[in-house]
């Protein structure tokens, strides 16, 4: 069997996977619910949504935390999924992962609770000035905010806990972040720097202000009732994405190294593609060139013609813009076959897990390959005639799947695609 790929590079395999979403913790729970067409979207109770147009999200409220902040939740989700992935992989030893960490994290900043705590402690009476807040900060009594809300702290803590090697990478490419983390891991192994990499995408940032911010950009679904029906990728009545939390983790290894230690091979990352869009901050180029180029680069990198792809895990956010553009891109790359390749959006059930999405959907793509079963696109009651795709409507189905393409597109013109397979060629 080949030890290198079509370009003479090491073959990159997956030997461990971990996932947490609003559906639950762990691969088994998630896969069961995903293929049963269950939704993790629910009414937000973490904070009051009074006055807001959107009151639902794929929130994770089943994870106990000492402090309810976005970085605390993001970090905890990353830890849970990493535990699962490393345990499945059996790589290294406890607290000693033999490779680097690439971790996609949501942006981090002080939240209102911390700002208010500073104001309370300032004792400022009349009009509040920023200098009151800074003076309070300088007392040192809120030193823990400094570490908690520094960007590097999440990956630092995860690296410390699992003993990854080298400087941990914290990255952010908007909704493509999770895929970028995997891409960085693939590249590091291909360069021969390491035989293994820990690739993490995590996002626990459903908080008041981020909900307001996405809402102000008119990006979110406002179909609050029933919550489970809000995310409707490729449907005619889709009206925005649903924010969600989660984490996805892959343990990547050089095939030779994985074989040498007798590891079970769960799948292959054949190729990665990327192309930035220079058209607009939140919209795709109308001709779809960047997303088309992105998918083609991934296929080229994998050394596979489009004909070999038999399932697509799309970005499929349920926004009017994305789903239309993704259809345009898929049609251009796959031609007539576009209408026959099954393409189902996990986001119909778990919502849009933002910085984690690319990693979570890679895990689900690999589970699709493993189980030879396609999870559905739920809430597909009113097809959009402008998007004639086989979206695996509402019910999971068995299928022969050898190669999968997974797309992630984000604000800021970020586009990344991954090609995955069941077995090394």
């Amino acid at each position: 069997m080949a030890r290198t790929d079509h370009a003479g590079r090491p073959i990159i395999v997956v030997t461990g996977m971990g996932v947490v979403t609003s559906l639950g913790a762990g691969r088994e729970d998630n896969w069961r619910k995903l293929t049963a067409g269950e939704s993790g979207i629910r009414e937000i109770t973490r904070f009051s949504t009074e006055g807001m147009k959107t009151r639902i999200a794929g929130v994770i409220d089943f994870v106990p935390l000492q402090r309810q902040t976005s970085p605390d939740l993001s970090e905890r989700l990353a830890e849970m999924a990493t535990e699962e992935a490393i345990s499945q992989s059996g790589i290294g030893s406890k607290g000693d992962f033999p490779g680097p960490l690439f971790m996609a994290v949501a942006p981090v900043e002080l939240e209102w609770e911390q700002r208010e705590a500073l104001v309370r402690a300032s004792g400022a009476n009349d009009s509040l000035r920023y200098s009151d807040i800074l003076r309070t900060a300088e007392t040192g009594q809120f030193h823990n905010f400094y570490e908690r809300f520094s960007f590097g702290s999440l990956a630092d803590h995860v690296a410390g806990r699992f003993g990854t090697k080298g400087s941990p990478i914290s990255l952010q490419t908007a909704c493509a972040s999770g895929a970028t983390a995997i891409q960085l891991g693939v590249e590091a192994i291909r360069r021969g720097e390491t035989d293994a990499a820990l690739c993490v995408g995590t996002d626990g940032s459903v908080n008041r202000e981020s909900l307001v911010r996405f809402s102000l950009l008119s990006a979110l679904s406002t179909s609050n009732e029933p919550a489970y029906a809000a995310s409707r990728p490729f449907s005619k009545n889709r009206d925005g994405f649903v924010m969600a939390e989660g984490a996805g983790v892959l343990v990547l290894e050089n095939l030779e190294a994985a074989r040498a230690r007798g590891a079970r091979i769960l799948g292959v990352i054949d190729g990665c593609g990327e192309m930035a869009d220079s058209f607009h901050r939140t919209r795709s180029s109308p001709d779809g060139k960047p997303i088309i180029g992105c998918m083609r680069k991934a296929l080229n990198d994998a050394g596979l013609p489009p004909d070999e792809i038999d399932y697509i895990n799309p970005h499929g956010t349920s926004t009017p813009e994305n789903d239309k553009m993704e259809y345009l891109g898929v049609s251009a790359v796959f031609g007539e076959r576009a209408h026959n390749i099954p393409i189902s959006s996990n986001k119909s059930m778990i919502g849009h897990t933002l910085s984690a999405a690319g990693a979570i959907e890679a895990v689900f793509s690999l589970l699709t390959l493993e189980h030879q079963r396609l999870p559905p696109t739920i809430n597909y009651d009113i097809p959009d005639p402008a998007i004639p795709l086989d979206v695996v409507p509402n019910k999971a189905r068995d299928a022969r799947v050898t190669h999968v393409l997974s797309n992630s597109f984000g604000f800021g013109g970020q586009n990344a695609s991954l090609v995955m397979s069941r077995e090394p060629r």
Partner: protein
């Protein structure tokens, strides 16, 4: 691993408190250092020179979609592309990879203060906060805050679209973005990369996280090494720095001239126990020591001035007394994400000129160095994490 390919620095864009472009910065390094001690008192801030953003961001509409950290970054990226001679070359830019080190964006502090003030008086905290956020946050401010939108704006304004990756994580983001850019070129994964970052220190909300950590020095501008004898601390600086890194043959084929070669770069993860930083630097040093010729080499340090961490770097430097040292933070201030790319730029500038800039220190750490200068070792020791060592050399 395949035979490593040479990585040349063929373009540099700098926007700092010293000036715009490499020449202006180099010139000002020969003058005494200064900083602004009044605008953000008690903090000392190195404020960027004012530039005409129109020169690199022609559309006002684009400028309006950004906050200053992004404008500075897009501006410096444009300078770097100009300097490399690739600006406007659609074919090259469409293949150019991009790595950006970025932090969080800028908040509207007036809005924040007004909401915080109101929260003290309201009966219904949650309803009040919801209402104020919905009414007072500008929709576009979100885009001016997202870390990856500096890269996004570089794609839009300059057309760099080969790939786009943003690293967060303070100093480590700056160092690792350059490290991975170098590694990708060396291994044949990329031919041409735009890498760098930008930081705007001239904001109260940006000072806040560092005030929480009590990492900022107060009142008086001081040279980095001299702060060790006092309480230590950082003087933050507004700083945008971008580099164009290019594979040697790719540069030769298009007739581009190297400013210097980025020979080696390594980063580490010291667990910040006593002695760990010195150990990490020493370990990385041992990998490049064989390449360094001390009589024509110097060290450009990214030291923050925070006592506990800078003392460890000081201890490392003291073990290598043969090399002249400069801490760029004395002149530039400290910019977490962009200090390292800026120091690579200044190292390249010094090599290009064959000499080091004058010492600016009364502690005895910095001393004069006779030319010629052929190599510069660049250090980065982050305020909280992130250790890195790079070797920049003259292209003979």
């Amino acid at each position: 691993m395949a035979d490593a390919r040479e990585v040349w620095i063929t373009g540099i864009g700098l926007l700092t408190c010293l000036g715009e472009g490499l020449d202006a910065n180099w010139q000002r390094l020969h003058e005494p250092s200064t900083a602004d001690t009044t605008s953000f008192a008690p903090y000392v801030v190195h404020r960027a020179v004012k530039v005409d953003f129109d020169k690199q961001i022609p559309k006002k509409g684009d400028q309006r979609q950004m906050e200053n950290w992004q404008r500075m970054g897009v501006y410096a990226a444009g300078l770097a592309l100009d300097s490399a001679g690739v600006k406007g070359n659609a074919d090259l830019l469409s293949k150019m990879d991009m790595l950006v080190a970025a932090g969080a964006g800028e908040r509207d502090t007036d809005v924040d203060l007004s909401i915080l003030d109101g929260l003290r008086r309201t009966e219904n905290r949650e309803a009040y906060l919801n209402q104020r956020l919905l009414n007072d946050l500008r929709p576009t401010l979100f885009l001016a805050q997202l870390a990856n939108l500096m890269a996004g704006n570089i794609s839009i304004v300059h057309g760099v679209t080969g790939s786009s990756r943003t690293f967060m994580g303070e100093e480590a983001a700056g160092a690792d973005s350059v490290r991975i850019a170098h590694a990708r070129i060396a291994a044949g994964q990329s031919e041409l990369v735009l890498v760098g970052g930008a930081y705007n220190a001239e904001r109260w909300d940006i000072l806040l996280p560092y005030a929480l950590g009590r990492t900022l020095s107060h009142h008086k501008h001081t040279h980095v090494w001299e702060r060790l004898a006092a309480a230590g601390g950082m003087e933050l600086g507004s700083l945008a720095a971008f580099l164009v890194l290019e594979e040697k043959q790719h540069a030769l084929d298009r007739g581009a001239k190297p400013i210097a070669r980025l020979e080696r770069i390594d980063s580490d993860y010291a667990r910040r126990m006593p002695g760990a930083i010195t150990g990490a630097l020493e370990r990385m040093w041992s990998d490049i020591a064989g390449k360094v010729r001390p009589e024509t080499a110097a060290i450009l340090s990214g030291a923050t001035g925070i006592a506990a961490v800078t003392e460890e770097e000081h201890a490392f430097l003291a073990r290598h007394p043969g090399l002249a040292v400069r801490a760029s933070g004395t002149h530039l201030g400290h910019a977490p994400e962009s200090q390292f790319p800026a120091n690579i730029a200044l190292a390249a500038a010094a090599i290009q000129r064959g000499k080091l800039y004058p010492a600016c220190d009364n502690s005895g750490m910095e001393r004069p160095m006779d030319p010629p200068l052929r190599q510069v070792v660049v250090t980065s020791v982050g305020h909280r994490r992130g250790e890195c060592l790079a070797l920049v050399e003259a292209v003979e």
